[in-house]
């Protein structure tokens, strides 16, 4: 203990001499060992995706809400969680309360940025008191603002920090996931820059961005997220405990897009299955391309 925090890590109400709050950092670390949660802002909507390791062989997983990691906040807002599921539920319930309260008070649905701000204020509160434990979870918030007709993705972290993203990842394997997501055409300013530069060579490592490339659609986003989940599981998940790297897992996906009338609903099962098949084929093809004789080409767990 003395090695890591030297007594400055006993409470989130104490700074260390170099200005860190260890309890908050530990909370972030708790998130890092959970299955990944990914979010992608596409041209026509948002896709949320979580990877759920299914480690316990005797666990009932069909038709049970127990393993849920994506929650509906109100009709037009969804929340994907990484970290402790119980902490996550607390945050999800708070989000529902804030949304319902806003609707009752102002008679219109809560704008996603307001909800994200209120949620981050709530999470942040738990980093201020010695008597409270910070939340061991990170929340990805997908929402649609009917007034501005704009969809947005926010991420609220255990520290209470909250930003809007084109693509966000939390949990085990978030770093490789971010690297993969940076290759996707989801950032309009970068896509424009890539288009202007003429594509040849790209701008400073914009590998995936080619000239005149359109932002990807949610249909494409679902496929790409499925691929990223399989990719990060393959690569061992960057610094995580790696405990369940090869174990069985499930994917949970939801979206909110033009096609669903901006309602947040689960991605239809057949669309997900198709996306997973595509992802597996894609990864296999890339593997053959890169190294035919590297080492064993195991394929992946069913």
């Amino acid at each position: 203990m003395a090695s890591s925090g030297s007594g400055y890590d006993l409470s989130s109400s104490t700074f260390s001499p170099d200005g860190r709050i260890f309890q908050v950092e530990y909370a972030s670390r708790a998130v890092e060992s959970s299955g990944a949660a990914l979010g992608l802002r596409c041209a026509d909507g948002i896709v949320l995706c979580v990877e759920k390791p299914m480690n316990k062989k005797m666990m009932v997983t069909k038709n049970t809400p127990a393993g849920r990691r994506i929650y509906a906040v109100d009709g037009k807002t969804g929340l994907a969680l990484a970290g402790y599921p119980g902490d996550g539920r607390q945050v999800a319930n708070r989000a529902r309360e804030e949304a319902a309260n806003y609707l009752e008070t102002y008679g219109s649905e809560i704008p996603p940025d307001v909800l994200a701000a209120r949620l981050s204020a709530y999470v942040h509160y738990f980093t201020l008191h010695g008597a409270l434990r910070p939340f061991g979870c990170t929340a990805l918030l997908a929402g649609y603002d009917a007034a501005t007709q704009r969809h947005s993705l926010h991420m609220v972290e255990p520290s209470g920090s909250c930003f809007e993203y084109y693509a966000a990842a939390a949990g085990r394997g978030r770093q490789p996931a971010r690297t993969e997501m940076e290759k996707l055409a989801v950032n309009p300013t970068r896509a424009a820059a890539a288009a202007a530069s003429g594509g040849a060579g790209g701008v400073g490592g914009e590998e995936g961005m080619e000239r005149g490339q359109q932002l990807i659609s949610v249909a494409e986003g679902v496929r790409q997220l499925a691929k990223i989940v399989y990719t990060i599981r393959d690569s061992g998940g960057n610094g995580g405990s790696g405990a369940s790297k090869d174990g069985p897992f499930e994917i949970e996906m939801s979206w909110l897009c033009e096609k669903t009338g901006w309602k947040h609903v689960g991605v239809p099962k057949d669309v997900m299955e198709e996306a997973v098949e595509w992802a597996k084929r894609e990864i296999e093809a890339e593997g053959e391309e890169e190294d035919e004789d590297d080492d064993e080409e195991d394929g992946m767990e069913e």
Binding site: T64, I70, Y71, G75, A100, E104
Partner: protein, 277 residues
């Protein structure tokens, strides 16, 4: 913003007591606890009629909201869907009806969001009409025990529910009044309609009525109510719940009236006086 864990409210079932009762215009008095309570409704709607028919339930009401005896709002909707298969209609204080509607709609939203699945097709746990009716009964009765009633007589229409949560073939029609009395029947009427329309409906009712017959009966009743109820209007709405189509509420429309009956034409009520007392 001050630091607080209060969200400023709660989305959990709003207990009936958290309605801060009195909207403007409701005459209020202090109860034992010193709170303001409604003692008399001000902006009111008159009768609502409801009837079961062969494959559905139908409600009818006019669109008048009166301010005392003044016909103040002539296009007010008093038949309101609260979820995809339940409909309510209410007479009495209009602001209280709005408040009830908000409460039920918020509950329906909460049900949807806390459902076990992200897939709409899996979610059969939406409240059925009987559950809405029963919940409303509890709310109304609690409020009356606080000596602060929601001043409405409400009719709830929809379908019974199978044990698996799916909609059954049996229609549901129930009413709750402002003191929490609740009962079901094949035909119901609130307010003045209880005196004028209900006897007519009882006379004409058959369980196997077609939709058209049910509608004709309700329109006849509304027309008669318009003739005899000083707080009624010939601008009306009809709404139905069917198993296949869910809730459907018509736009307001006007009923034809006929004023050439002898009793209406004879001047001064046939008394041979100047019409005064």
């Amino acid at each position: 913003m001050s630091l607080s864990l209060q969200s400023g409210g709660s989305s959990s079932r709003v207990s009936a007591s958290s309605f801060s009762a009195t909207g403007t215009g409701i005459v209020a008095a202090a109860n034992a606890a010193g709170n303001q309570v409604t003692t008399r409704p001000i902006t009111t709607g008159t009768s609502v009629l409801g009837i079961k028919y062969r494959n559905g339930v139908m409600l009818a009401a006019d669109t008048l909201v009166s301010y005392g005896s003044l016909a103040k709002y002539k296009n007010a909707r008093r038949l309101l869907p609260v979820n995809s298969r339940t409909l309510i209609g209410a007479s009495g204080e209009y602001s209280d009806l709005q408040s009830i509607s908000d409460l039920l709609i918020a509950n329906a939203l909460e049900d949807r969001c806390t459902a076990d699945s992200l897939y709409e097709e899996d979610n059969t746990n939406e409240e059925c009409a009987k559950e809405v009716w029963s919940y409303l009964r509890a709310v109304m009765y609690q409020r009356r025990n606080k000596m602060n009633p929601l001043w409405n007589d409400v009719i709830v229409a929809g379908f019974q529910q199978n044990p698996d949560g799916s909609t059954s073939d049996t229609p549901f029609l129930g009413t709750v009044d402002k003191i929490g009395t609740a009962y079901e029947d094949d035909m119901l009427a609130t307010g003045f309609g209880g005196y004028i329309a209900l006897p007519l409906m009882r006379e004409k009712y058959r369980p196997d009525m077609e939709e058209g017959e049910a509608r004709a009966l309700l329109e006849d009743c509304l027309r008669i109510l318009f003739y005899r109820d000083c707080r009624a209007l010939n601008r009306v709405q009809i709404a139905k719940v069917t198993k296949e189509g869910g809730v459907l509420v018509s736009e307001p429309y006007e009923l034809d009236t006929f004023w050439d009956y002898k009793g209406y034409v004879s001047t001064k009520a046939g008394m041979g006086t100047d019409g005064g007392w």
